[in-house]
């Protein structure tokens, strides 16, 4: 039987007239990574703060690591760790002093806290900077220190609230590797992100959140499939031949392709990827259409997101029209 490490049922949280969360549901099986994907203000952080006992909610029910968040907060706190968007470390203390402090607060003996701090500093590549104030660390180092602080005692459930926001690509990859390592050791992770790529890279399942509620849930592949799956893209050499090529492709694939004359490109959804590609290339060749480029394009979570919410994840709430075409450029 699957155990669920995070369960939220119908969570609601209001700030005055604003509904930060509105009947929010979530279940995360043990040992998996679950991504909460949504734009700023969608309610991701509110959900994480509720589940980590930092914030009370108005309606619904939530349990983490088997304990009710509202009734047994101390049991929950003993089994979780949180790394937030803003590194929650003491900026005056050195990296080492930070880890020793948190170790002491986790009731390690002072010797044990020292040992654990040294171990984590090395593992996170911070041993050279161990004596410097955390306030002098770069963004990436601070985030790593923050993560290290979350791992002083291996948590059963780790909450990562936009763990790579504001990091350069190298630091981002480092954080991703660390998360993968933790999951391999059996930790359950709830991750919030605005980056589709991050969710795609790390998450086993994703909940897309918009305006405080889950608008879609599934594996990254399932979510991509919701936008119509993979597509074949063909660029013809002569713009005048585009319409002709479109008719040929429509006949082969049984679907009307989208045509973009400005880049002489057509794009059509395809079910059987490789066979479809071969048929299209052969068909166009037989008809004597000169092809400049042809390829398979996998659907991205970006498109899935746009499709589900009508706006892009890192944008403000402006809807970007209905078309998927906007994304092909």
């Amino acid at each position: 039987m699957t155990t669920f490490e995070v369960v939220a049922e119908g969570l609601g949280k209001r700030y005055g007239p604003t509904r930060a969360l509105d009947t929010f549901d979530l279940t995360v099986p043990a040992g998996t990574v679950h991504g909460l994907l949504g734009p700023n203000g969608a309610g991701k952080t509110t959900a994480v703060r509720i589940l980590t006992t930092l914030l009370r909610f108005d309606t619904g029910r939530a349990s983490v690591a088997g304990y009710d968040v509202l009734r047994r907060p101390d049991e929950v706190r003993a089994r979780i760790a949180l790394t937030g968007q803003y590194a929650a470390v003491d900026e005056i203390l050195s990296g080492r002093q930070n880890l020793e402090l948190f170790g002491r607060l986790f009731r390690l003996s002072s010797r044990e806290a020292r040992r654990r701090a040294a171990e984590l500093l090395e593992r996170f590549g911070l041993d050279e900077a161990a004596g410097r104030s955390a306030g002098e660390y770069s963004g990436g180092m601070r985030r790593r220190l923050d993560l290290a602080a979350s791992l002083i005692r291996t948590p059963r459930v780790l909450f990562l609230d936009e763990p790579t926001t504001g990091l350069d690509p190298r630091s981002r990859n480092q954080v991703w590797d660390l998360v993968r390592g933790l999951v391999a050791d059996g930790t359950t992770v709830l991750l919030t992100t605005q980056y589709l790529e991050e969710a795609d890279q790390l998450a086993d399942r994703i909940s897309v959140i918009d305006a405080g509620r889950v608008v879609a849930e599934g594996s990254p592949d399932q979510l991509k499939a919701m936008t119509g799956g993979d597509r074949i893209e063909v660029v013809v050499r002569d713009a005048a031949e585009l319409a002709h090529a479109g008719r040929i492709v429509a006949a082969i694939c049984g679907a009307q392709p989208e045509l973009d004359p400005t880049v002489r490109r057509l794009s059509v959804p395809v079910l059987d990827r490789v066979a479809g590609l071969v048929d299209v290339v052969r068909g166009l060749d037989d008809a004597g259409v000169a092809v400049e480029d042809v390829g398979l394009r996998r659907a991205t979570l970006d498109e899935a997101f746009l499709h589900l919410t009508g706006h892009r994840p890192d944008d403000t709430r402006e809807p970007v029209g209905a078309g998927r075409k906007a994304d092909l450029a």
Binding site: R56, R77, A88, V89, L93, Q97, F102, F106
Partner: protein, 261 residues
């Protein structure tokens, strides 16, 4: 209960480490009272009179002790506001530690800091000719009253920080908020020498109670007045801080719990 004490002590040590790692702030808090001793003791002091006679510098020192306790408000409030603004409080709150530790740790550390400031000031006082004239026992009692006042001020500071949250704002408002309390009090001038209404306000000022009480305990000049607060300074020096603690500690705790709203 024992976890509350262990965690409180861990947090105390954290706050003391702050002082060691960022001593600039401490230097500011040290230099201010010493400056007051020098400026008031030697510049303005030459034109000051003490009601009932006696050396002005000896009159002044107990006032500066109390003033130093009051300006600890700034250190407490900015420290707490900085914690709140930097998200480190979120980590503390999501850990299985005693809820009270953040505040008790702050309070204890500030008390230790006050002891440090007081020792410096004591030496500074002895150098300019101040002394305790009623024996060590009474002098220690005076130190006790000062620390009691400091605890009360700590809780006001914690509440202030939880109310305002922004450390810059806290830094800006603390001094103007605290200054009138030292000006309209018996810290620098005996209330009998002030215009009557201001004199009365000065006498009822909680700081004046502690100042008058420790002047008496140290055996310094300036005991004066036959008003009720002047005659019951010792009682008020205990009552005022206890009242402040009884008011602001629950307010601060409630405010802290409301962080989860």
């Amino acid at each position: 209960m024992s976890t509350a004490i262990t965690d409180g002590w861990t947090m105390t040590r954290r706050n003391m480490t702050h002082v060691v790692r960022a001593p600039e702030e401490l230097i500011l808090y040290f230099s201010l009272p010493i400056m007051f001793v020098l400026v008031f003791g030697y510049v303005f002091g030459s034109g000051m009179q003490v009601s009932g006679g006696g050396s002005y510098r000896e009159f002044l020192l107990p006032g500066v002790f109390v003033m130093t306790m009051l300006y600890g408000l700034g250190a407490t409030a900015t420290g707490v506001a900085q914690d709140l603004s930097r998200g480190v409080v979120d980590r503390f709150r999501s850990m299985p530690m005693a809820r009270s530790a953040l505040m008790t740790g702050r309070s204890t550390a500030d008390l230790l800091r006050a002891l440090l400031e007081m020792s410096t000031l004591l030496i500074c006082g002895l150098l300019v000719g101040w002394q305790w004239r009623q024996g060590v026992g009474r002098a220690l009692l005076a130190v006790g009253l000062l620390l009691l006042l400091r605890i009360a001020i700590t809780w006001v500071g914690i509440y202030l920080a939880l109310l305002v949250r922004n450390p810059e704002t806290v830094g800006v408002i603390v001094f103007p908020a605290a200054f009138p309390f030292t000006a309209i009090s018996n810290v620098f001038v005996s209330p009998e020498l002030m215009p009557s209404i201001i004199g009365t306000i000065s006498e009822w000022n909680p700081l004046s109670a502690t100042v008058a009480a420790i002047r008496e305990l140290f055996g310094n000049p300036g005991l004066g007045g036959d008003s009720w607060p002047a005659e019951h300074a010792m009682l008020l020096a205990v009552l005022w801080p206890v009242l402040l603690i009884a008011t602001f500690a629950p307010l601060a705790v409630r405010r802290y719990q409301r962080l989860s709203r």
